[in-house]
């Protein structure tokens, strides 16, 4: 579905993504973990076409929707209006589609997005991404700024979406706990490079990696 080969991205004159190769199969749940500044966001933005590529190749079969870091909702618009824009430029796409998938959003469809809690906003951001009917949904910093409870709820929502729609998910996370628990496979990034990859269980077993790159599994959940 997604193939990234030898990708290089420069950001402000520095190398943000350095010769990265990765792939995601159809309906796969993959996470991209690493410390702050590892280049995860640059990588995913390059895949989404938001930053120019300075080398290598990105090939994507199907549609990708990107849920940016910090949600980037339109705070002055209602939730429903936010969702409608998620289908841009397809004005006829009805928002009922995501209300069926995520019924709890329906409750605040008329509220301004800026008035929602962090967890609600993240859910709306995910829903807005779903409006494009993607085959791959890439979520940047999924649990950042959310309480453990809100993060857990969001994860269970995402997993049920994944199961019912069969879409592939790429989760970018600083918190290894959240990422490894929900995803089948993970890539670990540091200083612009992929330093480790494998199934989540393999990575959890190699405990040194968690200590070295992620500061243990202590953050996020007890």
């Amino acid at each position: 579905m997604l193939e990234v080969a030898n990708l290089v991205v420069h950001y402000d004159g520095a190398v943000a993504v350095d010769d990265v190769t990765m792939r995601i199969e159809n309906s796969e749940l993959v996470s991209l973990i690493g410390p702050n500044g590892a280049g995860k966001s640059s990588l995913i933005k390059a895949v989404a076409g938001l930053v120019p590529i300075d080398g290598g190749k990105v090939s994507l079969q199907g549609r990708l929707a990107y849920v940016p870091e910090g949600r980037q909702l339109f705070r002055d618009l209602t939730v429903d209006q936010n969702l409608r824009l998620g289908a841009w430029p397809n004005r006829r796409q009805s928002t009922d589609y995501v209300y069926d998938l995520l019924p709890e959003i329906k409750k605040f469809e008329k509220r301004k997005a800026g008035q929602l809690s962090g967890g609600e906003q993240q859910l709306v951001a995910v829903a807005r991404g779903l409006m494009a009917k993607p085959d791959l949904l890439a979520i940047d910093e999924l649990s950042l700024g959310l309480s453990p409870l809100a993060a857990a709820k969001l994860v269970s929502n995402l997993i049920s979406l994944h199961e019912s729609l069969g879409i592939a998910l790429l989760i970018v996370e600083q918190s290894a706990t959240v990422a490894l628990k929900m995803c089948q496979r993970a890539y670990v990034m540091e200083a612009g490079r992929i330093v480790k990859s494998g199934t989540s269980s393999e990575l959890i077993e190699s405990g040194e990696m968690l200590d070295a790159y992620l500061g243990g599994m202590g953050d996020g959940q007890p």
Binding site: P68, Q72, L73, F74
Partner: protein, 287 residues
């Protein structure tokens, strides 16, 4: 008392013109954070083109429509030139719009001369209990009501209006959605052109315009818009009407010659006051 009613109606009508120009500036500023100095040019060009269209024998209504459409196209053009693909600072874009406004002088003087041009509007005068009001002023108010309802509907109901608001709310978020923010900026300029053209064809029958009327028009439009912090149409409407009425009252009860100066003074004070308020709130007012 009757005199006062006359002043108020005239003031509201003139204020609606300022509000229309101000709304054009707001439409553009919201998306691009550029203050379009060529906003007055849209009014002048729209009016001049309408006058030519009428003199070529087009019926009323159609001739004015031609002027408004031409102003809209001009708006798109100005937007395309002022917003470069690579992106430049808003203040650089502002200077480009100054350049285009001045370049338009060449066209206007060349084609229409430098004397004020009038437009045939409604010539009739409404009289009741000693008050005489030119019907054109009433027409301006009526059309403005329709235009502002239309603007509200456009921004709250239409998909493209929604996208324009999205760009002003969070331009990065809009880009993530695949919305081309620069193109939306150009569309906003087109809308600004239409609003400018409308104000031109409406005011010209009562206040002939010449090529260099644009400066006063854009400054008064800016005055109306700035009262609403450059981002709210309803405030621009209120601001325009207040300015128009104040101007008319000053002209009526004191001296017509100071109306512009007083209105501009109000604007400067508004901006400074707003800036001080923002500074106190700790929000940056870098505009």
């Amino acid at each position: 008392m009757n005199q006062l009613i006359g002043y108020l109606i005239n003031g509201i009508a003139v204020g609606c013109i300022y509000a229309m120009l101000g709304s054009g500036l707001v439409a553009i500023y919201r998306v691009t954070t550029v203050v379009n100095v060529a906003q007055g040019t849209f009014a002048v060009m729209g009016g001049l083109i309408a006058s030519s269209a009428l003199s070529f024998g087009l019926p009323h209504g159609l001739g004015e429509l031609v002027g408004v459409i031409a102003a809209g196209i001009l708006g798109l053009l100005v937007g395309k030139i002022a917003l470069t693909k690579g992106g430049i600072s808003p203040i650089s874009s502002l200077v480009i719009t100054i350049g285009l406004a001045v370049a338009a002088y060449a066209l206007e003087v060349g084609l229409w001369g430098s004397l004020p041009v009038s437009l045939a509007g409604i010539r009739s005068v409404l009289r009741f209990s000693g008050v005489a009001i030119q019907d054109q002023y009433l027409l301006i108010i009526a059309v403005s009501i329709v235009i502002f309802i239309g603007l509200w509907a456009f921004f709250s109901k239409s998909y493209i209006g929604l996208a324009l608001t999205a760009c002003s709310s969070n331009s990065y978020g809009a880009r993530v959605m695949g919305i081309d923010v620069r193109r939306m900026g150009v569309i906003a300029f087109g809308l600004g052109g239409v609003l400018g053209g409308l104000s031109g064809i409406l005011i010209m029958p009562v206040q002939p315009l010449s090529f260099n009327s644009d400066i006063n028009l854009v400054v008064m439009g800016f005055a109306a818009a700035v009262i609403g912090g450059m981002t709210r149409f309803e405030y621009a409407l209120a601001g325009g009407v207040v300015l128009g009425v104040v101007e008319e009252l000053i002209a009526g009860y004191w001296q017509a010659r100071y109306q512009l100066e007083v209105a501009l003074g109000i604007v400067i004070l508004t901006m400074v006051f707003e800036g001080a308020l923002n500074a106190r709130r700790g929000t940056a007012a870098w505009r």
